[in-house]
Symmetry: C2
Amino acid sequence: MDFLKDSNYINQISIECVIFGYEEQTLKVLISKLNFSGDFYALQGGFITQDEDIDVAAKRILLERTGLNDIYLNQFEVFGKANRKRKEFIDKLIEANSAAYDKNIKNSDKYLWFTNRFISIGYYALVDIQKIHPKKSEIDASIEWHNVHSIPDLIMDHDEIFKHALHHLKEDIDKKFNAFNLLPETFTIKEVQDIYETIFEREYVRTNFQKKILEMNVLERLEKKFTGAKNKAPYLYKIKI
Amino acid sequence: MDFLKDSNYINQISIECVIFGYEEQTLKVLISKLNFSGDFYALQGGFITQDEDIDVAAKRILLERTGLNDIYLNQFEVFGKANRKRKEFIDKLIEANSAAYDKNIKNSDKYLWFTNRFISIGYYALVDIQKIHPKKSEIDASIEWHNVHSIPDLIMDHDEIFKHALHHLKEDIDKKFNAFNLLPETFTIKEVQDIYETIFEREYVRTNFQKKILEMNVLERLEKKFTGAKNKAPYLYKIKI
């Protein structure tokens, strides 16, 4: 538990990352099973050092867990209820791990800061599952993708954080087209439509969808995609810079 | 400076409220001139006590400054750059106030926490200027409404916080119709259009605007407004619950 001892962290503020992944028209989320007895599942979180911008801290946490650099991360909400304390969760953890776990942690000064109230800044990312290899941290027994419709119960208020992140993802993608982490350099409108249909769990009429996306004015049309059948070839697009 | 001594505040986290006001088709923002020599202008900020939800703290700050309760406040962004420290600002303040101000504040332990790096959670509100009487706090020399196009230079990164708040206000109002603090219980579409034209600084074609607003599906149509001229009377609306 060496990471808990870093006295250079800002006390009482943490970051939770909700890492959404897209693969074969399914939307998933990355969940850690904690490395203790008992079923403790959690989002990927971390702390901010005294000399680190909060956005830099969030990117570092994402990099540590996914190996991905330079990913669009969206700060979406702060979770700051007064009863948001780790103590209850840690007491449960200790109870479930009385043999394996150092019981003295409970009263040890050097860990006490960790049981305080924490205000947590939520970030989400949307990544291509095929491009990343999730890495467990020292507190994870495993780290896995779960379909957003079948995630286990999460610790503390992580369920709420996940639900709010999904809500913001939907709002944002409809407004800002922030699905660009998922797209290759050039792509067809059909590829974009697949992503939207997966996230919103609905079908779109092709012509309506094309109109909606082009009206966002974020795509630049390139040549037609070579498919052999010249007349039916779809146009390729890229993101406008 | 008694408020600086409250040891029950969470250290290194603050709240900044950007309070927008609407009056006679003008959009304004509430700015404090600090009670020191020198031109120090600031947004309305404050701290979070250990047993207070962050949303409750933001509402308390708004109540203290405006007398308004139960106002829709929108948490819009966290400002968390590593170089976001009060020390530089306080040093400037002390320099400009060497006679009037206790120079020892600089090295006094009880004020040191206040010179740390602070991560600030931004909230904005949009209120009816005619309904409120801004109240200065103990650090304000005055507190006044300024047209959003002619605000003075603000301390620290308050200019950036103000600009981001205005950006979010525009984005949100177009999506969530969160202008309801400004409207009476029943109102005409023309009253809504006036607010939108002020905030977006553009004119709308009446019929297009009516269509856009009604498509948001947040308004309930009531009887016609009695004006004497029956045929031209506009409908009254109220916000759907």
